[in-house]
């Protein structure tokens, strides 16, 4: 199946959770905000949310400083 990840097509195995995708991409869930189909989701739901064909995912990485 195919999802749109940060604006680009991305091939995935059916049933992959968002947490599994972040792990594959070596992204630390404590440093990223995840928007799934235009809704920001909390880190507690990353593992339980599985991706479907055609889903849209925006992953915004944050760095420290303020």
């Amino acid at each position: 199946m195919e999802v749109t990840f940060n604006g680009r097509a991305h091939e995935l195995t059916a049933g992959t959770s968002i947490q599994e995708l972040l792990d594959q991409l070596r992204l630390d869930c404590l440093q990223v905000v995840v928007e799934h189909n235009h809704n920001i989701i909390t880190r507690q739901r990353l593992a339980e949310t599985t991706l479907n064909d055609g889903d849209t995912l925006e992953v915004i990485h944050f760095v420290g400083g303020g």
Binding site: L30, V33, E35, H38, I40, T42, E58, G64, G65, G66
Partner: protein
């Protein structure tokens, strides 16, 4: 002829001097400003002139101050911001500068939250003063904002924000400004607020350390209701410290994003 004196309409005689108007309306004024420039008492006034009479050291009354402050706002802006409530999470380098900018713009109510105390090391970039060292930042900033614009109401929350109290602290904020220091705290705040208030905008900052080009700091829409100001990559680290110029650029991107949202405009583009 018609002129304004301290932003109120007045009728003046043709060829009346600025000094004559002063003597009539505010005889104890010791500064006369005509159309934005200092003027002598002999200056002849023209129809439509804007005269401001100032007595040095005098704090204007509430109505007069309101007229004087709002006179510098672009028409329509004051009306759009004076009843707004904006939340600011963290009042360090970003948050203190954002609060000052929004107070000067006339935003009616600011909710500021931070657990931190003013330390000497903060003074390289944060809007605090030597005589505020040791005070909780939120109380020091509330005092400063009141000195800038007494019409701004500030709700100061001296606490550490966490997923359990964010809704209570910022429940009335129509827009939330994320101005934390640590990346994981930025993420925690955004996740929590967005999950509870998905229709409200969040303006966040990421990537403003060091002294790289100011032009690399941008405002982007990175999710449906999430606007990110910064270069997105330059983290605070040993050798790449946080400094007033670049932190200030990012802070004012955030403040301008808030203003554009309040005016119904997209923060990230011209439309």
């Amino acid at each position: 002829m018609q002129i304004t004196v301290n932003e109120q309409n007045h009728t003046a005689q043709a060829n009346e001097t600025a000094g004559s108007v002063r003597d009539r309306i505010k005889a104890d004024a010791d500064l006369i400003i005509v159309n934005g420039f200092p003027a002598s008492a002999e200056t002849l006034l023209n129809n439509g002139d804007q005269v401001v009479l100032i007595r040095r050291g005098e704090v204007p009354g509430a109505d007069e101050l309101d007229a004087l402050l709002t006179a510098r706002h672009t028409p329509g802006v004051h009306e759009a911001v004076k009843d707004a409530t904006i939340g600011i999470a963290g009042v360090g380098g970003l948050g203190s500068a954002i609060a000052v900018a929004l107070a000067r713009t006339g935003v009616g109510h600011l909710i500021i939250a931070d657990f931190d105390i003013v330390e000497p090391s903060n003074l390289n970039r944060q809007q605090y003063f030597v005589d505020q060292i040791g005070l909780p930042k939120v109380y020091a900033l509330r005092d400063t904002l009141a000195r800038i614009n007494p019409h701004v109401r500030t709700t100061a929350c001296h606490l550490r924000l966490n997923p359990a109290n964010i809704e209570e602290v910022f429940g009335h904020a129509q827009i939330l400004v994320e101005a934390f220091d640590l990346a994981d705290q930025k993420v925690m705040l955004i996740e929590t607020f967005a999950a509870r208030f998905p229709d409200r905008s969040i303006v966040t900052g990421s990537g403003m350390a060091g002294f790289g080009p100011a032009n690399s700091i941008r405002t982007q829409r990175v999710a449906n209701n999430l606007y990110l100001c910064g270069d997105g990559t330059t983290a605070a680290a040993p050798g790449t410290g946080l400094m007033a110029p670049r932190v200030g650029v990012a802070a004012h991107h955030q403040a301008n994003a808030v203003l554009r949202l309040l005016l119904g405009k997209a923060p990230e583009d011209e439309a």
